[in-house]
């Protein structure tokens, strides 16, 4: 009898834990914030964009089961869950951006432009204009993320198709090439005209260099400046076991967030940022020993995050819904690491970076967590087991924010009310 009661209590407890876990779509948020599962299983949702009327567009890494790689979502009955969903386009990719009544989307080589009507429907799904073509795609770091300034210029990341610009990529003992030839056409941010068709390298400009791979970037309209988050290099311990232990590799180098000015050089592949020493350290492929400092001319990061967490999206918050401290600060989504193995993985959350007087304070905090779906306090040890991996970020017209996941294709909507 007593035993039966105990079991009943256990079952009830298990159920209530489950119910709590499902609240806020399984996410852990600061006081006063709520989340809903806006969409699920739409395909590998990379970046997202929201129109002034609240229509969401998601760019998929690959066409989904229905064969579509751009998805339009609308929450007609306004319950926090999209109820009108359709899609088109065959090209996989990452970048998507709404600018006026244009919708821009990128493949891994090109940028296309669609036209929106007054209901935010795409009028030319089969015949977009080609704005930029011929961007380098050699598999590694192939995403072409995009953002815009106020003059309708596009900033596009062209990732380096390499880990550390070795003569032979990811090969033990292979030296770094000097100068690194990849930087002529990749490993940086290029600027193009958002209105001109069929541009390629010669029509654009290398705006910033020495950036291994940027997936998250956004224009800060308050200070009129580009911000980018870089994925730092991998495998210091695999190739230099005499210089770096597994535990050191798990913390090196920092994932870095930069305030970019035209002409900046962040130093890849020659240096990496060591967050414990607060220094730019010469890469071992270029004669470094883990201590030797690199040139001071390379850009200093605005914020240094723990290693390998993979920043995927950057969003400057300009809404009025969230508490005052969030205004003009930056949200950064982290995909979650793999290169911290054999140590447990980190990331799988959305961070908030406070800004004061138009500058990052250097601090950061976890804003939304729980995407990976592991029990409280537990760590992800195998990256593929994470239930969701945060990727794209966008702000809705009411000041809510959206977070996409590119594993199963969830979109979370996060709102605040007092």
């Amino acid at each position: 009898m007593k035993k039966g009661l105990q079991i009943l209590c256990l079952i009830l407890a298990a159920f209530s834990i489950k119910a709590i876990a499902q609240e806020n779509a399984g996410l852990k948020l600061p006081e006063g914030f709520k989340a809903s599962l806006y969409a699920n299983n739409i395909g590998s949702a990379r970046h997202i964009a929201v129109t002034k009327a609240g229509v969401v567009f998601a760019k998929l890494n690959y066409p989904n089961k229905e064969g579509n790689a751009i998805i339009r979502l609308e929450d007609v009955n306004n319950d926090g869950v999209a109820d009108k969903v359709n899609g088109w386009a065959k090209f996989g990719g990452t970048g998507i951006y709404v600018k006026g009544n244009s919708l821009y989307a990128s493949s891994n080589e090109a940028i296309f432009k669609y036209e929106l009507n007054n209901k935010d429907e795409v009028v030319n799904p089969q015949t977009p204009l080609t704005i930029v073509t011929g961007l380098i795609n050699r598999r590694q770091h192939e995403s072409k993320s995009i953002t815009f300034d106020q003059q309708n210029n596009i900033y596009v990341n062209i990732g380096a198709y390499s880990n550390a610009c070795q003569t032979s990529d990811r090969t033990p003992g292979s030296q770094g090439m000097m100068p690194c030839p990849i930087l002529d056409s990749a490993g940086g941010i290029w600027k193009f005209d958002g209105n001109k068709q069929n541009q390629t390298y010669k029509d654009g400009k290398r705006y910033a260099t020495g950036l291994r791979n940027v997936v998250g970037l956004d224009w800060n309209n308050q200070t009129n400046q580009l911000y980018v988050a870089q994925h730092g290099r991998d495998q210091l311990n695999s190739f230099y076991p005499n210089l770096y232990t597994d535990a050191q590799n798990a913390e090196l180098p920092a994932e870095t967030f930069y305030a970019i000015n035209e002409g900046d050089n962040a130093g890849w592949p020659y240096v990496y940022y060591d967050p414990a020493q607060h220094k730019k350290i010469v890469s071992p492929e270029y004669g470094g020993d883990g201590q030797k400092e690199g040139s001071k001319d390379f850009k200093e990061p605005a914020v240094a995050f723990p290693a390998h967490m993979a920043p995927m999206g950057v969003l400057f918050y300009t809404g009025n819904q969230f508490p005052e401290k969030y205004k003009n600060g930056a949200f950064i989504s982290f995909h979650g690491s793999w290169n911290r193995a054999p140590l447990p993985q980190e990331g799988f959350f959305v961070a908030f970076v406070p800004f004061k007087d138009g500058k990052a304070t250097g601090e950061w905090e976890i804003f939304a967590n729980g995407f990976a779906g592991v029990e409280n306090g537990a760590k992800v040890t195998n990256t593929a087991k994470a239930k969701a991996r945060p990727c794209g970020l966008a702000q809705g017209p009411d000041g809510s924010i959206y977070v996409s996941d590119d594993t199963k294709g969830a979109i979370f909507k996060i709102s605040y009310s007092k």
Partner: protein
């Protein structure tokens, strides 16, 4: 019942199981022990402890059609030379470049492949030294032309 009471049957059983386990540990599973060590130091970082890989980035080895398949020569070639091609693996693409392992001996290749083919949900045959050597001559012919 009768068997349980028969001590000589028990004795024979014990003797056989000791002989069997010595043989098993020494002969059969030593290459799995070595294979596991190699996997942990040279493969785990990308393919992860559970062999599940990293979505879109590092291919899974667990439940991979190729890994448990018949084309041993291809597996040997990949472990030796790495892989950096736009090929669909079970319908998915992986963007990272796999490190080559030119320093591996044929025995090490046999060991690590035996480990990955029999770990997690994989239940394929192990790879012998002779199979790696045969694969090497086959791969040489292929790469020469």
């Amino acid at each position: 019942m009768e068997m349980n009471n028969n001590s000589s049957t028990w004795g024979r059983f014990l003797f056989l199981s000791i002989v069997f386990s010595i043989f098993f540990v020494d002969g059969q599973s030593q290459n799995l022990v070595n294979g596991k060590k190699i996997f942990e130091t040279r493969c785990l970082v990308c393919h992860q402890a559970d062999g599940g890989g990293v979505p879109n980035m590092n291919a899974p080895l667990d439940a991979s059609t190729n890994v448990v398949g018949k084309d041993i020569a291809r597996l040997v070639y990949i472990v030796k030379n790495g892989l950096n091609e736009r090929v669909a693996l079970d319908g998915m693409y992986y963007s990272n470049a796999m490190t080559a392992n030119p320093d591996f001996t044929d025995q090490q290749i046999a060991d690590v492949l035996s480990y990955v083919r029999t770990s997690w949900s994989n239940k394929a045959s192990k790879v012998t030294l002779a199979q790696v050597q045969a694969a090497n001559s086959k791969n040489k012919i292929k790469t020469k032309k």
